[in-house]
Symmetry: C2
Subunit: 423 residues, 2 copies
C-alpha cells in the first residue's frame, strides 16, 4: 500500500519516489556544497536541515553534514530504519505536525529536484563485479565457446566475479569517453592501439555493503550486511576485453567508467519485493545455499537515444533473473577471509532475461554484432556510437505505487584524438 | 657512495638503512598513537617531532600528524625530495648542528627500532597486481598449457594484470590465516568447500602511486607519478585459483592477504640503481615503449622457516628481471582512461629468474608439487604448511652501502575449524 504524504507529488502511482521509498542521494544547488538528501516526489529533503531542527533521532545526530552517506551506511539498517520511520512520521498525511505546520522550516528543508544537481551518493571504497546472470553467461559463452560449452564449469557452483576499479565509478549524467586500448582481430598478427570499436553497456544492479566484516560470513549475515541498491551500467569495451582477458580476466575493458543511479534504494523500501532465486540446476554447497527469498522483483529497462534523436527502449528485464542473489555474491566474496568494508560496491553482472528483447547488453542484443538492433527512429546499432545516451531505469511495482531508482544515464563522448596530448 | 651520518648504526655496510635510504614507515610505542617515521640505522626518526621543532621545510608543515604517509605521497617527489635533502643535512656527519647538538631534541626525535611496532605505512586506496615477470609467466604457462603455449598471446604486447583487493593488504608481521574455498580435483565431478591445500607465496615488488591522474599517461609520466616501492608477497591459494579463474581471473585465491614490507623506499633512494629492461622479444607499441632505464637492480630473496625451525633461503632473484617496468605497468593501467589515485598500489607480479633456485613461488620451485623443495634442517615443501614463516628481503647494493626494505614476513596460521563459527 502506498503511504500517502502531504507532499502531493509523492503520491503519483508511477512517480517512483513515494514515502515508501525514501532513497538516499547527495545534491547541491549551483556552486553550493554537497548535502545529503532524500527523494520524495519531485522534491528532495535536506537531511542536515531536519537534523539541525532536532527532528531526526538523536542516534543520527551530526551524520548528515559530510556531503556523502558513508557514515550512515557504516551504521547499517538499524540506524537507517530509525531515521526512515521518523521521516515517514513527519511526511505522512496526518503524521507529526512539526514540519508540516512550520512553513519556514518546510521551505528550508524541501527543495524541488529540478533546482539541484545530483552527485555520487557515497564514496565507493572497492568495487567488485559479478557474473551472476544465467542468461547473460549462457549467451556470452555460446558466442565465444559454442552452445555445448556455454557455461564455464564453475558457474553453477559459485557466483564468479572479478575486482573492478572503484576510481572509475561515476554518477548518472557524467559523459563517458570512448576508450583507447589494444585491439587485435583474429586474422591480425599483432595488436594495434586505437579507440574501441565495440563499446557496450551492461544492465546491472549494484549492492552496497553497510557494516564491515573481517572473515567468512553466511548468506544470511551477508543479506544483513547489504545496506541498499543502485542501478549500475558497467560500460565495457568488448574488443579490448577479447584481447586482454585470458588468463587474468577483464581489466582495461571495464575501467573506463561504471555509472550508478544517483539514489540508493534501501533494503527497507525493497522488502515487499523479495522473491526466490530461479530454480537451482545443481545443488549449491551448504555455505552458499538459499536461506529465504533474497532476490528482488525489480523491472528493468534500457533506453538508447542517438545524439539529438528520440529514445528507444531496447531491452526489458528483471532483477529476479539473477541466479545468485546479492547476498550469495557477498557471502562468496568473503569465503577466503577477504575483509569487506562499508562502502564496498558489488555489481551483479548483466541481468538478461530469456528472450531476445530482454538481453542486457548490445553484445547479446546484436549477437556479437551479427544482428543489428533496429532503432524505430532510423538507424541500427551493433555497439554504441558516439553521442548515444544510454539510460537504465528500474522500479519495483507495489500496490498503487512504485519504488524507483532514478535514471542511470550516460552519453558516449568521442574518443580523444590523441590520448597523450594534454589540453 | 655512502653518505655518512652521526647516527653510527646508519653507517654499517650491510645495514640497509644508511642516510642514502631514508624509507618511510609508521610506528607506535606500546599502546601509543601511530606516527610517521623514517628509518636510519637502528633508529627511527619521528617526523612530527622534527616538524614541531621547525626543522623541516615549511611546505611540509603539518603533514606528519595523521599516522599515515598518504598526505606526503599525494604531493609526490617534489615535496619529499625537499624533506629528504633536509634530513640528509640534519643527519650527515658535519651537517647542520640543529639536531645533532640538541641532546634533548635528539632524545625525543630518535627512538630505537627495537622499541616500536611498525604499521601500514600508507592506506592502500586500490590494489592492482600485474604479471610482468617473464620467467614466472613462462613457468606457470608451461605447467598449465605446455611449453608451446606457455605465454598467453597478449603477454609480449602489454603488461597484463588484474585488480586485487586493497582491503586484504597487510603489513609485515601479521599472521595469514590459511583460507577456505572451493576446490575441485580434475577427477572430481563437483567441488568441495575446504581449506586450501596449495597455499603459496609470490615474490613481488609493489609500486605506490603519488600524484593522481585522470586519463592516459605516457611511460615517462607514469615513472614520475610513482612515489616509491615496497616488497610485496601476494599470498595465493593455487587450488582455489585453478577452479575459479576461468574466465574472470583470480578472485578469492588472492584475497586472503597481501603482505607488504613496512618501509616505503622512495625513488630518490633507488635512483642510482636504475637499469634497463630485458631485451624486447617483440617490439612494443609506441605508447608502451621504453624511454630510459626504468627497472631497478634490487637483489631479492625468499626465506622459509618451519614453526620453531631454522630459516632456509629458498630463492634468490632480482627486480631487474621484470619484463615490464613499474612505469610501463602504470602507463598501461591508464590507457582506457582509468583514473589513478594517490595511494594506489601496483604489484609487479612474481619476479622469478631463469634458474630453478631463482623462482619466486613454491608453485614454480616445486613445479606444481612434483619436485618438493628440500629444507636442509629436515623436511620438504611443495606448498606452505601451517606455522611456516615466509620472509621476503631485498636490497640494492651501492658502493659500500645497501638500500634495504626491511623484512616482508608473515606466518601461515592454521585454517579455522569452521569458518562460520563466531568466536
Amino acid at each position: 500500500m502506498m503511504i500517502a504524504s502531504w507532499v502531493e507529488s509523492a503520491n503519483l502511482a508511477e512517480g517512483g519516489f513515494p514515502l515508501n521509498n525514501l532513497p538516499l542521494g547527495v545534491c547541491s544547488a549551483k556552486d553550493g556544497p554537497r548535502r545529503c538528501c532524500v527523494a520524495l516526489g519531485d522534491q528532495v529533503i535536506l537531511m542536515d536541515v531536519l537534523d539541525s531542527a532536532g527532528l531526526l533521532p538523536d542516534a543520527a545526530k551530526g551524520l548528515f553534514t559530510a556531503g556523502t552517506w558513508n557514515a550512515v551506511i557504516a551504521r547499517g539498517d538499524g540506524l537507517w530504519n530509525q531515521v526512515r520511520e521518523r521521516l515517514i512520521a513527519l511526511f505522512r498525511t496526518e503524521g507529526l505536525p512539526d514540519l508540516r505546520e512550520d512553513t519556514r522550516l518546510r521551505a528550508e528543508a524541501l527543495v524541488p529536484m529540478a533546482d539541484i544537481a545530483l552527485h555520487m551518493p557515497f564514496d565507493v571504497v572497492e568495487y567488485t563485479d559479478f557474473y551472476a546472470g544465467r542468461h547473460h553467461a549462457s549467451n556470452v559463452g555460446t558466442m565465444f565457446r559454442g552452445p555445448e560449452n556455454a557455461l564455464p564449469p564453475n558457474w553453477l557452483h559459485m557466483p564468479i566475479g572479478y575486482n573492478g576499479r572503484a576510481s572509475s565509478v561515476v554518477v548518472s549524467g557524467r559523459g563517458v569517453r570512448r576508450p583507447w586500448g589494444q585491439l587485435k582481430g583474429k586474422d591480425q598478427d599483432a595488436p594495434i592501439f586505437a579507440p574501441s570499436r565495440r563499446f557496450d553497456f551492461e544492465l546491472e544492479m549494484g549492492a552496497i555493503v553497510g557494516p564491515p566484516s573481517d572473515g567468512p560470513v553466511t548468506v544470511a549475515e551477508a543479506d544483513d550486511m547489504i545496506f541498499g541498491y543502485v542501478l549500475l551500467n558497467d560500460w565495457s569495451a568488448r574488443d579490448i576485453q577479447a584481447w586482454e582477458y585470458v588468463p587474468l580476466g577483464p581489466f582495461q575493458a571495464k575501467a573506463t567508467a561504471t555509472t550508478i543511479s544517483p539514489w540508493i534504494v534501501t533494503k527497507a523500501a525493497l522488502e515487499p519485493f523479495r522473491c526466490d532465486a530461479p530454480a537451482r540446476e545443481l545443488p549449491l554447497l551448504p555455505h552458499l545455499r538459499d536461506v529465504g527469498p533474497a532476490n528482488y522483483d525489480i523491472a528493468l529497462e534500457v533506453a538508447l537515444a542517438p545524439e539529438g534523436g528520440a529514445e528507444t527502449t531496447i531491452s526489458r528485464s528483471n532483477a529476479r533473473e539473477l541466479y545468485y542473489s546479492p547476498a550469495q555474491q557477498l557471502a562468496h566474496h568473503t569465503t577466503c577471509g577477504c575483509p569487506m568494508r562499508s562502502g564496498d560496491l558489488l555489481g551483479s553482472g548483466t541481468i538478461s532475461g530469456a528472450e531476445r528483447d530482454s538481453r542486457g547488453s548490445l553484445l547479446e542484443l546484436s549477437w556479437g554484432g551479427e544482428t543489428p538492433v533496429e532503432l524505430p527512429g532510423g538507424g541500427t546499432r551493433t555497439f554504441l556510437e558516439d553521442g548515444d545516451t544510454l539510460t537504465l531505469r528500474g522500479y519495483a511495482q507495489g500496490d498503487g505505487y512504485r519504488i524507483g531508482f532514478g535514471d542511470c544515464a550516460g552519453q558516449v563522448l568521442p574518443a580523444l584524438d590523441d590520448p597523450y596530448k594534454r589540453n
